[in-house]
Symmetry: C2
Subunit: 199 residues, 2 copies
């Protein structure tokens, strides 16, 4: 395992990692977690099999690293100046991601794997923790501006925006369109204003 400091962006190590994670994401999106295999990923990524086994060890190790990379690569929070604007931007970003064929399948595959793989579950929770912390300042600033009650749990408000979109994707079905995203954002704002997320 390399020290984090040794992975220079653009260096050989970073290029290998990018190629392997891209190939792993392709397999997950096309075929699902059950078909993820380190030898196949190495072949697709045109990277030596030994390198892949030495660096990632197992498919769960590879998925955990993919989730770390997805958190690192994800877009920064919006700064529209209003809580509605920021949470609508968040909802639309989540909706576009889940409605995108490759990304939607990738999330489905990783979430399915997490239902029975404790290490993937932990990596998935870390991914959402990172995303929620990135967007929580949108809510914290609204509390500071007096738009939301003091004591509002900013992270819970951010989670409330995503929840209806993931519920459609994974459980109940139904369209995952922009109107769904806007409804999710509006509902979270209305509930937050009414004090539903005060700790």
């Amino acid at each position: 395992m390399e020290e984090p400091g040794s992975i220079r962006p653009g260096g050989r190590t970073a290029r290998v990692r990018a190629a392997v994670l891209r190939a792993a994401g392709d397999v997950l999106a096309e075929r699902g977690f059950a078909h993820l295999d380190l030898t196949d990923v190495a072949r697709r990524a045109e990277v030596g099999k030994t390198t892949v086994y030495r660096r990632w060890g197992t498919v769960t190790g590879l998925v955990a690293d993919l989730l770390t990379d997805m958190a690192d690569q994800s877009l920064p929070r919006a700064r529209t100046g209003s809580l509605e604007g920021d949470l609508r931007a968040n909802a639309r970003l989540v909706q576009r991601t889940l409605a995108d064929p490759r990304q939607g399948n990738l999330f489905r595959a990783v979430i399915a794997a997490a239902t029975c793989e404790p290490r993937t579950t932990e990596a998935l929770h870390r991914f959402y923790d990172t995303r929620v912390r990135e967007w929580a300042p949108c809510v914290e600033e609204a509390i500071d501006r007096g738009e939301l009650p003091a004591g509002t749990d900013a992270e819970e408000v951010v989670r409330a925006v995503s929840a209806p979109l993931y519920y459609r994707l994974l459980a109940a079905g139904g369209p995952l369109d922009e109107a769904t995203a806007d409804q999710a954002a509006n509902a979270a704002v209305a509930a937050a204003r009414a004090g539903a997320f005060v700790r």
Copy 2:
């Protein structure tokens, strides 16, 4: 395949079905969808293998029938007299189900299977449609009483109660306790009152 009318409650056909679905649920909860096997289910249910193959055909057929049975067996909606009371009862029912080790694992397994099995996806969507239709009158009656804006989408309000609980179970993690359930119900009521679910 038997005609529905021929399955008498308490009859042999119903007893066989109950034993097979119980065994299928046990395997899903203990080991997950990947380990579901009709021969193993027949053995656990103490039912002839030929009967199981003739009646359910495939593991996806068996899971679809299990979901139909889960929808049939699920509890009727609450009638507390208030929207808050009804939706809180709904949230606590969902929370208790998902927090129960066997039921929570069963839902995780079926949802994981649905991410890559179109027939299971359809059966899962039918299950949630049935549950949402059972509870929608709680919201419709609140609209009739003038507690919620006219034009509120009753089924969306019911879905909004479940969404944060499933989001925790499947994606973001976090406690699945009674406080989480009550927060989900309160947020849905507040958002509905503010008109966030008006079509």
